[in-house]
Each structure stands twice: as structure tokens, then as C-alpha cells.
């Protein structure tokens, strides 16, 4: 099977040639297969958000190539091959919940009736039925982030790119959102790239965890998460889960020590 995302020897330099030049990413190689859930974890400033933006073609690489669904990343962006979720829900406050979810469809000139029914369907998936006509500020942080996920899914992309989507949520809400995201991933067979700071979250959600180090940002270790595909509250209490959490923690520690 060809990889959904293929990152080939990618480096990224910010402000090249200037005094504040920064090597943000150095020679990154990573293939992500269809159906995988890959979390990227690392200390602040290791370039994990930059890596995600390279996949989404929101910024260009300085060298190397990024392929999405076998196409160059810019083409994949034009083809709407991925849905993106940011740390801030980034909902437009002048739009209702439903209208926010419809936004990507609107930009593709999908007819109104279909837009509405697909938005309803997606809101049902994230358990927000009945909130269609609410405005973003009437929802809690967790609910806003669920709307953002519904918006990312509404184009039915094969690939989901998520940049610390639950970073601003409290621990309890975060665990509930993890469960919901896991369920959606399990049901829809999407490929996901997930940036996070949280070891527990990374292990719970992923099939693979990519550990990065800082200055320059590079991949130091890739850990396979060999937990069963289906995960729920009990998963967090299994011995294997704890072992994997410790494994990732040690990998992170080594990455931070620059080993």
C-alpha cells in the first residue's frame, strides 16, 4: 500500500540567510500508512507543528519532498485531501455551529441542502446534535473543539491533521475527547497525524508515536504502540499501556538530553 503521507528528507530553515536563521527541522524521513494514527511528540520548539504545516502545505519545505496520497503536498491541498484541526478551535464567531461546519463545503460550492445534511451528520458524529443553531461562544471549550473536528471531517478527507487539538482542555475533558476521537477514527478508518504534548494522550490514541528532539528538530525514535485496535477506559489501566507510557517518557527524556 502506498503511504498516505511520505516525508522524504525534509529540512526547514526559517529566515534563511539572516542573523535570526533557525534550522527548525533537519532531514526528516517518515512514511505514514493508510489507517495509521501517528502522534508526534516532543519538547516545545522541536518543530512538530512546523512538520504538520509542511504536510498540509501551509508552509513550503526548504529541501526535500512531502507527498500526500502520492501527490505533492500543494496539489493535495488544492484537492482538499486533508482536514485540519488547530489548538484553538478557530471557529468563526459570526457563524452558527452548523454554518461553521459547512464552511469548507461552501467554498467548494456544494448545494445548500446537501451542505446542511452533511453538517448535521458530522455534528451527530461528534455528539453535538441539537446545537446546529448555537453560536460558538455559547459552547464550552471541549464542544468548540468537537465542532472543529466535525468541520475537518465534513469534506470526508482520508487524512486528518491535528495540531494539539486538546491542548487547552482540562484533563477530564481531554480524556473524554480522546475517547471520542478514538471512536471516530475507529469507525471511519481515517489516517491521522496528531501533534501533542501529552504522553498519555499519544499512547492512548496512536498506532505509532514519533518522538522528536529540539535544535534542530529531528526524529529520535519511533515507537510502535501494540495495544489492541479498540481502546476504551480500561485500556488506560492495562500493564502494557503503562509500559508504553514509560517507554515514550524515556524516549522523550533522551530526546531532551540530546542523546
Amino acid at each position: 500500500m502506498p503511504p498516505t503521507v511520505s516525508i522524504q528528507n525534509v529540512s526547514k530553515v526559517f529566515n534563511p540567510g539572516e542573523t535570526n536563521q533557525v534550522l527548525a527541522l533537519k532531514e526528516i524521513n517518515l512514511d505514514i500508512l493508510p489507517g495509521e494514527f501517528v502522534s508526534i511528540i516532543g519538547p516545545s520548539g522541536c518543530g512538530k507543528s512546523t512538520l504538520l504545516r509542511l504536510i498540509g502545505d501551509l508552509i513550503p519545505p526548504s529541501s526535500g519532498a512531502v507527498l500526500v496520497n502520492g501527490k505533492p503536498a500543494p496539489q493535495a491541498r488544492l484537492d482538499q485531501d486533508y482536514g485540519m484541526v488547530f489548538q484553538a478551535a478557530t471557529l468563526y464567531e459570526w457563524r452558527t455551529v452548523s454554518k461553521n461546519v459547512q464552511l469548507p463545503l461552501e467554498l467548494q460550492s456544494v448545494p445548500k441542502a446537501e451542505r446542511e445534511s452533511r453538517a448535521r451528520e458530522m455534528l451527530a458524529l461528534v455528539e453535538l446534535s441539537g446545537f446546529e443553531n448555537h453560536h460558538p461562544w455559547q459552547l464550552s471549550g471541549g464542544m468548540q473543539q468537537r465542532v472543529a473536528i466535525a468541520r475537518a471531517l465534513v469534506m470526508r478527507p482520508q487524512l486528518l491533521l491535528m495540531d494539539e487539538p486538546f491542548g487547552a482542555l482540562d484533563e477530564m475533558t481531554r480524556e473524554r475527547m480522546n475517547q471520542e476521537l478514538h471512536t471516530i477514527w475507529e469507525q471511519t478508518n481515517k489516517t491521522a497525524v496528531f501533534i501533542t504534548h501529552s504522553i498519555a494522550e499519544a499512547v492512548f490514541l496512536s498506532t505509532r508515536v514519533v518522538v522528536m528532539s529540539v535544535r534542530p528538530g529531528r526524529i529520535t525514535q519511533v515507537i510502535d504502540i501494540d495495544l489492541p485496535r479498540h481502546r476504551d477506559v480500561d485500556t488506560r489501566e492495562t500493564t502494557r499501556y503503562f509500559e508504553l507510557v514509560n517507554l515514550v517518557r524515556e524516549a522523550l527524556r533522551r530526546a531532551e538530553a540530546g542523546l
Partner: protein
């Protein structure tokens, strides 16, 4: 899954007095109306109070209370010529403005409508011009750097110097007055449009990029709606400025039908009837307030869904 939102009840503690409890029991509209009236009464009280302490003598025939009173001081500012009694001003509305003419209120109402139409046209032209400049500058730093100095300079040139030229170019009339009003109104709209269109958060823009949105789509689906609150702030400033602009524009145009003409006219007869100029000033202020409220109403209708509960 039901997270509903309830607004917190007003906090009422034992310490609060009876007035405070009564006050907070009123609706917001009632509170606003009451404070409006109270402040108006206080201003009227201060006005007449000053005249009571230091104005010209009060004669029984000349005041509605029929009192004879000799103020202890004589302040120049509080004389009947400089600061006519409020009832004199209101009386003047009902009296004919010139011999055998219609009552002053009718003349002023006609003038107010006339000036408002000029101001509205100027506001529309200025608003559109201001928005266009702001939108162009928001998309091109080169044009912004090149033209902004002239836009700023245009506002430092007194309108009184510009107005006669506009009249020479366009001939005295409706349009020239509207252009002069527009000249006074476009600037705040340009500045706030530019600021508003550029104020959009980074991720909101990235989201649009992820949809491969064009600059045009980005403008109308994201930047423009995001800028609206700031644009309305500017439009409220412009609404009042356009009334001033229209009045100033009428003066060198020789247009006598508007409030500018009325101000000029009653200014020259000030000695024989100061209350007529004051009445005109009241009406002028009213036109400005009316226009401001009109824009505020449109703003409310468009932005009401954005309000976050306090």
C-alpha cells in the same frame, strides 16, 4: 449530552440599599431611559442654576414660574444674550422665524431633513471610499506606504480650505456638499477597515489556506466579517462627522435650505434673538444623534449574534 448556558442571576446582597435593589430590578432599557432623563434634567438644572446665581434679573412675565428674582452675581457668560433661558429656546420653536413666516420648528425640521440627506449621501460616499482604500491598503503594503501619507495629509488640511475648491469644481449644490461631507468621513473608515482586515488571527487564515481559498474568498468569508466591529466603530464616528461636513459645506456654497444656512442666518440676528440660534444648535445636535443611533441600530442588527454573555 446537554450543556446548557444560564446567565448568572444579578448578585443582590444584604448590604445593598433599597434604591440599589430597585434599580437593578429594572430592565436594561428602563435603566437607560431613566439615566438619560435624569442626566438631561441635571444639565437643565445646571443651566438655569447658573442663570439663577449669575444671570440677568428674572421678570415675572418672562419666566413660566412667574417669579421676580435678582441674581446676586452678574456672570457675563450667564447673561440672557449669551445663555438664553431654556424656556425661551423652546418658545422660539413655536414662534414664526420671520415676519408672517412659518413657525421656527417647521423651518428647522425642513432644514434638518435637507442637511441630513446631504450628510447621508456624503456618509455613503465617504464610507465606500474609506472602505475601498482600507481594503486596497490591507492587500498591498506598497500601496499603503505610497498613499497613506497623502491620506493622512488630507485630514490635516482644514475642510474650510477645501470646501470652496470643491464648490468651484462641482458647482454649488447637493453633490458638492455631499463630497465635502465625504471628505470628512472617509478617514476613520479607512484606518479601521485596514486595522480590522489585518487583525485576523493566524490560525483563522491558515484554516482558509488549508481550504485553498482565494484572496477574494478570504476577504469576504473571513477578513470582512472579522473587521465589521471595527468598521462600525468608524461608521459611528463618520455619521456624526458627516453632519458637520454637510453644514460646513453649505456655508461657502451659499445653500440656504439646510442647517448651515439656518446657523448663518440666525447668527447674524443673534443680538435680536439668541434663542433662535440655540434652537438651531439643538436641532443640529439632534440630527447628529439621530444619525449615530441609526448606524448603531444597523450595527446591533448585524452584530447581535456575536455578543458574548458578560
Amino acid at each position: 449530552m446537554s450543556e446548557t448556558l444560564t446567565l448568572p442571576a444579578p448578585i443582590i446582597t444584604e448590604k445593598q440599599g433599597r434604591f440599589s435593589r430597585w434599580w437593578h430590578g429594572r430592565s436594561r432599557f428602563a435603566r437607560q431611559t431613566i439615566s438619560l432623563i435624569v442626566i438631561l434634567l441635571l444639565l437643565a438644572f445646571a443651566w438655569e442654576g447658573l442663570k439663577f446665581i449669575g444671570g440677568d434679573p428674572w421678570r415675572p412675565a418672562n419666566n413660566p414660574f412667574g417669579i421676580e428674582h435678582n441674581p446676586p452675581f452678574r456672570f457675563k457668560i450667564a447673561s440672557d444674550l449669551n445663555l438664553p433661558h431654556l424656556w425661551k429656546i423652546f418658545e422660539a420653536f413655536g414662534r414664526e422665524s420671520r415676519r408672517n413666516g412659518p413657525p421656527l420648528i417647521q423651518v428647522l425640521a425642513g432644514a434638518a431633513v435637507f442637511t441630513f440627506r446631504e450628510a447621508f449621501l456624503g456618509f455613503a460616499i465617504g464610507g465606500l471610499l474609506g472602505f475601498s482604500l482600507g481594503a486596497i491598503f490591507a492587500h498591498s503594503r506598497v500601496l499603503e506606504r505610497g498613499f497613506m501619507p497623502y491620506v493622512v495629509a488630507s485630514q490635516t488640511v482644514p475642510i474650510l480650505a477645501i470646501a470652496p475648491m470643491v464648490i468651484i469644481w462641482l458647482k454649488a449644490g447637493w453633490l458638492s456638499v455631499a463630497i465635502i461631507a465625504a471628505y470628512l468621513t472617509f478617514f476613520p473608515v479607512t484606518i479601521n477597515t485596514l486595522r480590522g482586515l489585518r487583525s485576523v488571527e493566524g490560525t483563522a487564515v491558515e484554516l482558509m489556506h488549508s481550504y485553498a481559498a482565494s484572496t477574494w474568498t478570504m476577504m469576504w468569508k473571513l477578513r470582512f466579517p472579522a473587521a465589521l466591529p471595527l468598521i462600525f466603530t468608524a461608521l459611528k464616528i463618520s455619521a456624526t462627522a458627516s453632519v458637520v461636513g454637510a453644514i460646513i459645506g453649505e456655508l461657502p456654497s451659499g445653500i440656504r435650505d439646510g442647517l448651515g444656512g439656518a446657523i448663518l442666518n440666525f447668527n447674524s440676528y443673534y443680538i435680536s434673538g439668541p434663542e433662535r440660534l440655540w434652537a438651531t444648535i439643538l436641532i443640529t445636535a439632534f440630527v447628529g444623534i439621530f444619525f449615530y443611533l441609526l448606524v448603531s441600530l444597523v450595527e446591533y442588527l448585524i452584530l447581535r449574534n456575536r455578543r458574548r454573555p458578560e
